[in-house]
Amino acid sequence: MEIRLQGLVKKFDDFTAVDHLNITFEDGELTGLLGPSGCGKSTTLYMISGLENVTDGHIYFGDRDVTGLSPNERNIGLVFQNYALYPHMTVADNIAFPLTNMKNPQTGKKYSKNELREKVSEVAQLVQVEELLKRKPGQLSGGQQQRVAIARALIKQPDVLLLDEPLSNLDARLRLEMRREIRRIQRETRVTTIFVTHDQEEAMSITDRIVLLNGGKLQQADTAQKMYMDPCNYFVASFLGNPPISFIRVLCRNGRAVSEDGVELPYPTDYEGEAILGIRPEAWCEGTDQGVKVRVDSVESRGQDQMVRFHIGKAQITALADAVREFKIGEEVSFLLRTDRCYLFDPAARNRIRTGSTAV
Amino acid sequence: MKKRSLLLLSLSMVLGITFVDGASSSSIALAGESASSGEKVEMDLTEPITIQFWENLDNETYDSDVQKVVDSFNETVGKDLGITVEMTVQSGGIEALETNLVAAIKSGSGVPNVITTEATYVPDYLQAQAIVDLTPYINSGDYGLDMSDYYDVFADSSSSYPEEGIYTLPAFVSGEVMYYNKDYFDENQLTVPTTWDEMVDTATKIADKEGHAAFGWDDPLKTFTTLSTQAGAGYTDKDGNILFGGDNLSKAIDAVSWYKDQINAGIFRTAGSDYYFSGPFGRKDVYMYIGSGNEAQFIQYKFPEGGEFNWACAPIPQGKDGWSGEKADYSEGYLLAMMDLNNDMEARWASWIFMQYFEQPESVKTYTSSGAFLPYRKSVAESDDWKNAAGTAQIAGVEQMDEFYTYYGFDGAAALRSDATLAMQNILDNDADVTQTLTDLANNYAK
């Protein structure tokens, strides 16, 4: 089921949480709704679910305008951040609960005990909780609770599965395991899935597409790869990437980019005027004397590579270098730039300046 | 192992405490024997002495009257002899006084010297040997008490206790009177009934005219005891033997049945939700009722807006065709008594000086002037200044002095009183069978 948001607005008194969103979530895809705290991503998710009212705009599930419908009329599955399992019911009853509130579409009557057991077993197998069916939520670990929550959301075969920051309550290793699990389940069921997260690495690793929000406005909606390689504005560039991108204010003239403090950067460009130059850490290569000369401030090893920090003028730069090369603090190094990992941004509007030489 | 020994320990503790206590008497101080006649009671008060006086009226007007007597004592006789009386008003009335007093007696300290009390409590104080026989004091030379001026009923009741002796003196006396709506009686040319037959006539006339009951009696217990006495049976003698049992039971049953018939006929009624008849009387739901002379002060508050009327008091009806008993009207009173646990003869003498002063006609006049209490001394009751100052309830009360009877104090008096009240409530309000209920009551208390 394709989900389409048209001109979606949400205001709380005077505060606009979601500002005219126009987004399409493709059918069968796992889309990440990404952004920093307070950007409106959870609010958007809850408006899609029907638990939050819409101030203006429309939401379409396929051809159906669901904007005014209550949650259970929308046929959605929702996994809450803290799972919200029913603590007094067994896992089996928790999973079965949505079905007990509706009629079996095949028979037109309420689900019988056997039918329920069958369905529960099916879904339990999918999320791999078959052995936990008789337990109560209090006896489950965080990861197990989440699987149960997912099972409960999926049992009625919803048109869309919504997950609100599903991994933020888990520890690091479990997080990695569970996000692969979510991916696997989504691939098996082919249900359109939207999941909210503030962790860009998470979003990048398992989603088909990312929708990035900031301040209630859409920044960019694209595949992870494209968003990383071709950010459409300053915010997108700064948000994705670990270690994060470094920025220098430059003046571009005569094909050259010169920093505020007069340092010439090895970045040829056609652009004329003031700009902010964004440089990905992996853009730096140690080069010949034609590069920019810098003094190493600090070195941090990450095992497979290392982060080298230095200054260009007042700007603090982080560069990623090969693990083999040993840098000493204070050492003077000459760096060149890979231009395909550098981006120019308008200093006022902060959107991306695209010119001939920077096309990827 | 540990648990079991702990259990045994606590069990033995429990048994120990319960059975040890039953055998011994409590920690009452070796109470002084009440001084018997012959022993010297007059003391020389060499040092100034303070006397504690507990009073129970708990009413601004009355308390200030009593305080006047206390103050005047302190300034005259007291000053000369070095006696100071400290008066404490027990807020909460007679029950509070009794509770505090019992606590003091049981703990052995803090017992006041002079108290006001009721006859029903005296047997308890006798058991605790805390109350003092006043006979030698009354007969003492310089500060004796001449009781010939007293109405008979008070002289008698002062010595009608389980033990020989005079243990109380009258202090605040009141009696039951009949209140009637004077305006209504004048308007309808009715005369105030003096017998029960006249009462039935008058009440029937009023009930026919107004369509509801005309008369009521505040306290069902007094209804029983007064009517039973008037019918020839009675309530109890001074030792607690019931007078309405045996051959007299039928007389009591007749009287109460007759009273109940009037209620069923709709001419008499009970107080119901109001507890006191001053309410219905003020609302003109009844035109006559019998209640304590103390009630007079409250009637003015019970008139609805613009519904004031003139009312007056009269003696209660006496006698009926076929009743063989004597005239009777219930009188209650708070009595003065002397308390002492420690055989402290000086304190007793000082207390007596005060009590004797309290019983003088001048003092009596002071605390019977505010419209509720009756003077128990003939000289005061017959004096013009008292008569001129007295209210209608007091005049009606004094008129009945020769008919007064009181409830005696004996062991178990409280229990009998409660059970008799219950019996009457069940009969008059809850439609219980008169014969059955009174027979049960008589049987329960037959000796």
Partner: protein
């Protein structure tokens, strides 16, 4: 040289908690233990003892005889059985009514957002209002001739009812008063219990398509059941001990009878009545002992039920 302790001061208790051996602990226990022994344990034993006397003189604290006479007397006393009947009706009628009403009120208060604080305050006011004041107000409501209730019923042509005088009606006046008086505290307890429930559970139920009724019975109430249970337990003991309401509504300065013929008497009031009005301490003690047995029986029943029906979450 400091003597080394050859015994480990730290001990693992039954449930796996860490405990510390300490002799000083007993010293700290002595003050509260002394208070307990003097004011709870000793009086309790004395009451037990007094119940077995045949006669007891309070003022000299002397008891005579030993036997079941006092118990026999109480069991033969018709007033005692009125008390049992009234207390029983209160427990069977007033108790469930109060619990259910206060539950409904708490659910309603919990469901509104605006003015929630205002309603909480309003419903809690009876608890902090003096019972005497409340009783006086109810007296004015229930008065046979000039009471508001009879006036209101009169508008529909119903005859005046003797709420406070008619033996068959007094228990209803008492029940109504007890219900009203008991609501406040229970409403607060239920509100506290409701607020412990994770609010997202309600959202999950909404997404799962549960109707409001279904949410109430399958989700809210089961999750509230520990609180409901606690309220019931507390209330049973509280109702069994009803005394204030009787005193305030039915007795007066003149008469300590709980209604005409003691028709509105309850067990607790009966104990008071035997002691303070009739002055027979041993009967009061016997009644108190029987009352204790009843309460203990009720508590045992409650424990059995608790094991079967209450869902504790955690």
């Amino acid at each position: 040289m400091k003597r080394t302790k050859n015994r480990n001061r730290f001990v693992t208790g039954k449930n796996g908690q860490l405990m510390v051996r300490s002799n000083k602990a007993f010293l700290f226990l002595i003050p509260p233990l002394a208070v307990f022994l003097a004011f709870v344990f000793y009086p309790l034993i004395m009451v037990l003892r007094t119940a077995f006397y045949e006669k007891y003189v309070y003022i000299v604290s002397k008891g005579y005889g030993f036997g079941l006479d006092s118990f026999r007397h109480v069991l033969n006393d018709s007033v005692f059985w009125i008390a049992v009947k009234n207390t029983g009706i209160l427990m069977l009628v007033a108790l469930p009514a109060t619990v259910i009403l206060s539950l409904i009120i708490a659910l309603m208060i919990n469901s509104i957002k605006k003015l929630q604080g205002l309603f909480q305050t309003l419903y809690f006011l009876p608890y902090v209002t003096s019972t005497i004041a409340v009783g006086t107000a109810f007296y004015c409501l229930f008065h046979t001739d000039v009471g508001y209730l009879n006036w209101f019923l009169g508008l529909f042509g119903i005859d005046k009812i003797g709420w406070l005088t008619d033996p068959s009606k007094v228990i209803w006046a008492l029940t109504i008063f007890c219900i009203w008086n008991g609501l406040a505290f229970k409403v607060i307890l239920f509100l506290a219990g409701l607020q412990k429930i994770n609010p997202q559970v309600y959202k999950a139920a909404k997404v799962d398509g549960a109707s409001p009724m279904k949410t109430l019975f399958r989700i809210t109430l089961p999750l509230l059941s520990p609180t409901i249970w606690m309220v019931v337990i507390v209330s049973v003991i509280y109702v069994a001990r009803t005394y204030n309401e009787v005193y305030v509504l039915f007795t007066s300065v003149k008469s300590p009878m709980a209604g005409s013929g003691n028709c509105a008497i309850t067990l607790a009031y009966y104990i008071y009545y035997e002691f303070f009005v009739r002055g027979e301490v041993n009967y009061a003690a016997a009644a108190a002992v029987m009352f204790l047995i009843v309460i203990m029986a009720l508590t045992v029943i409650q424990r059995v039920i608790s094991r079967k029906f209450v869902h504790y979450v955690g």
